[in-house]
Amino acid sequence: MLEVSLRHAFAGFTLDAEFSAPAGVTVLFGRSGSGKTTIVNAVAGLLMPDEGRITSGDWTLLDTQKRIRLKPHRRRLGYIFQEGRLFPHMTVRQNLAYGAWFAPKDAPREDMPRVVEMLGIGPLLDRRPGALSGGEKQRVAIGRALLSAPRLILADEPLAALDEARKSEILPYFERLRDEVSVPILYVSHSASEVARLATTVVALRDGRVASAGPPEQVLGDVGAMGTRGAASILTARVVAHHADGITELSGAAGTLWLPRVKAREGATIRVRVVAQDVILSRALPDGLSALNILTGTVAGLRPGQGPGAMVTLDMGGERLVARVTRRSADAMGLAPGQPCHAIIKAVSVAPQDVGQTFGDAHG
C-alpha cells in the first residue's frame, strides 16, 4: 500500500494532501490546478516537496523529517507521461528495453513478448517514435513503463492529449493493466468517465486538498467532492445479450438495463456510470415512456443542496443510485427515506465512454 503525505507551497497555491493507495488503480481526480500532477511528480521524485512522507510497504521514497529523499532513478517507478516522452533516437524496441536495462537483475519483471502482445505493438518494434500515431506512442509508453520492473506505475493524464477515438483505443489497455498486472497504479485524471471505468480507489482533490477518498461508487456520488453537476453513480452489471436492434441487455443488482450496443462480450461484467442529473424519479410505475430503463428501489437518503436542487439516493438491491432533482419535485413527490421509488434512465444518456470492463473480466 502506498502512503502519501505532502505539504508544498507554491506562489498562490498550497498543496496539503494525505491519502493511501491500496492495490489496483488509485485515481487522483480533480480539475486542473487541484494539485494532481504535483503529487505524482513528488512521488516520482521530479519535485521535492517542502515536507512530506511517501512510503510503499516498508520501503521509504521520501521522508523529509528523516532527511530521506530518494533520487528519481532509485525509486523504480514506471511513469507514463501525458505526452509519451519516447526517446526519438531509439526504435520502439530500444525504448521498451531502456528501463528494463537499468532495473536490478533480480527484480520481478514482465516478459517482453507478453507486454508487446498485450499492447498490440508487435508491428511497431522496428519503427522510431516519429513514425507513430499519438495512440501508438502512448501504447509504447505504457509498455516502456511496465517493462522497467516498476514497484508502482504512475500515469499523468495519459489520455488527455488524445482525441476521443484514440482515448477509447487506449483505455482498454489500462483496464487490462489493472486486471492482469499486480503492480499498483496511481493514475491522474480530470475525467469522471475514466474514474468510473478504471478506479479501484478515488482520491478527489480540490485546491490542493483531499476533498473525498474511497471507492468510486462512494466518491463519484459525493456532491461535496464532485459538485452537483458531476455527481454520478456506478452500476455493475453483466452483459446478457446483444439484440439485433443495436441494444445490449444487462443484468445487475438494480435490475435489467438496456443500453446502446456495449463493446463487451456476452457474460462479461461491466461498469456503467450514470450521471445524477440524467435520472428522473417517479413514485408510480410509469407507463408509455420512451425511456427504456425503469429501475425500482427505495429512497435511502435525501439531501437538499444549496440551490434549488436536491440529491436523492436510492437503494437498488444493494447498489446505490443518485438522482439530482429539484427540491420542489422532491417536496411535491413527498420523498422520504424508506419509500419505494422508480428511477428512469434514458438508454442514450449513458455515453459509450462511461461503459467499461471490470475486474476479472479479461479472461471471460
Binding site: A44, P88, H89, Y98, G130
Partner: protein, 232 residues
C-alpha cells in the same frame, strides 16, 4: 602532390592538419562540458564564464596571442610551471600553435554544442531518470545522441578555424618553418617574399579545398545523424 608542392610547403600542410587535429581533440570534451554547464546549470560566475569563452571571438587575435604569450610562455606562470615540472613547452613550438588554434576556435565549439543542448527537451531526460538512469547514463544514452549533430558541426568549425588561425598564432609562437608555420603563416611569408605569389596562390587554393571538403563531410554526417534522430 610532391610535384606540385615543395617539401617545405608540404610540411606546412601536414603541420596545419596536426595543429587543427590536436586543437579539436582537446576542445571537444572541454567544449561539450562548458556548453552543458552554460545551457543547463545555474551557478555563480556563469555569466563571467560565458564572457571568457567568447572573448577570443571579440578581441583582436593579436591580443589573444599576447595573453597566451604572457600566460603560457616560458616566463609565464603556467608555461613556466609546465616547463620546469614536465619539461613541456608551448613557446615557439607546434604545441603552442595548437593551443592558440584551440583557444581561438573554442567559442565556435561551445556555441554549436550549446545550441543543440538547448534544443533537447529536459522532459526526455526526466523520463530517463524515472526509468532508472542516473545522470551520467542519461547524458550518454539520451542527451549525447540527441546533440550529436551539434557536436559534429562544432567539431568541423573548430577544425576549420584551427587550420586557418593566423593572428594569435604568429603573435604567440612566431613563424618558424617546420614548427609553427601553418598554411596561413606560409602564405603570409610567401607574399612578403619577392616572387612568392605563385606559391601563395597554390597554398590558398589548397586551404579552400580542405575547408570545402571538411564542410561537405560534416553536412553529410549531420544529415545522416539528423535522419536517425528525427524519427522516420
Amino acid at each position: 602532390m610532391s610535384d606540385w608542392l615543395s617539401p617545405a610547403e608540404w610540411e606546412a600542410v601536414q603541420l596545419s592538419l596536426r595543429v587543427a587535429f590536436w586543437a579539436t581533440l582537446f576542445s571537444l570534451p572541454v567544449g561539450v562540458t562548458v556548453a552543458y554547464a552554460l545551457a543547463r546549470w545555474r551557478f555563480p560566475g556563469r555569466e563571467l564564464l560565458n564572457i571568457v569563452v567568447h572573448l577570443p571571438l571579440i578581441m583582436p587575435p593579436v591580443v589573444t596571442g599576447y595573453l597566451l604569450l604572457l600566460t603560457f610562455g616560458t616566463q609565464g606562470p603556467v608555461g613556466g610551471f609546465l616547463d620546469r615540472t614536465l619539461g613541456f613547452t608551448f613557446a615557439f613550438r607546434w604545441t603552442g600553435a595548437a593551443l592558440a588554434a584551440g583557444v581561438m576556435a573554442f567559442p565556435f565549439m561551445v556555441r554549436a554544442v550549446r545550441l543543440s543542448i538547448e534544443a533537447v527537451d529536459p522532459k526526455l531526460e526526466q523520463a530517463a531518470s524515472t526509468l532508472g538512469a542516473s545522470r551520467g547514463w542519461i547524458f550518454l544514452t539520451v542527451t549525447l545522441p540527441l546533440i550529436l549533430p551539434g557536436i559534429i558541426a562544432g567539431t568541423v568549425l573548430t577544425f576549420a578555424k584551427g587550420m586557418g588561425e593566423f593572428g594569435a598564432t604568429i603573435t604567440f609562437v612566431s613563424n618558424i618553418p617546420g614548427q609553427t608555420q601553418t598554411i596561413p603563416l606560409a602564405i603570409d611569408l610567401a607574399l612578403e617574399t619577392p616572387g612568392g605569389e605563385a606559391l601563395a596562390a597554390r597554398l590558398a587554393v589548397l586551404s579552400i579545398v580542405l575547408a570545402a571538403t571538411a564542410l561537405a563531410l560534416s553536412e553529410w554526417i549531420s544529415r545522416r545523424v539528423a535522419a536517425r534522430v528525427g524519427g522516420t
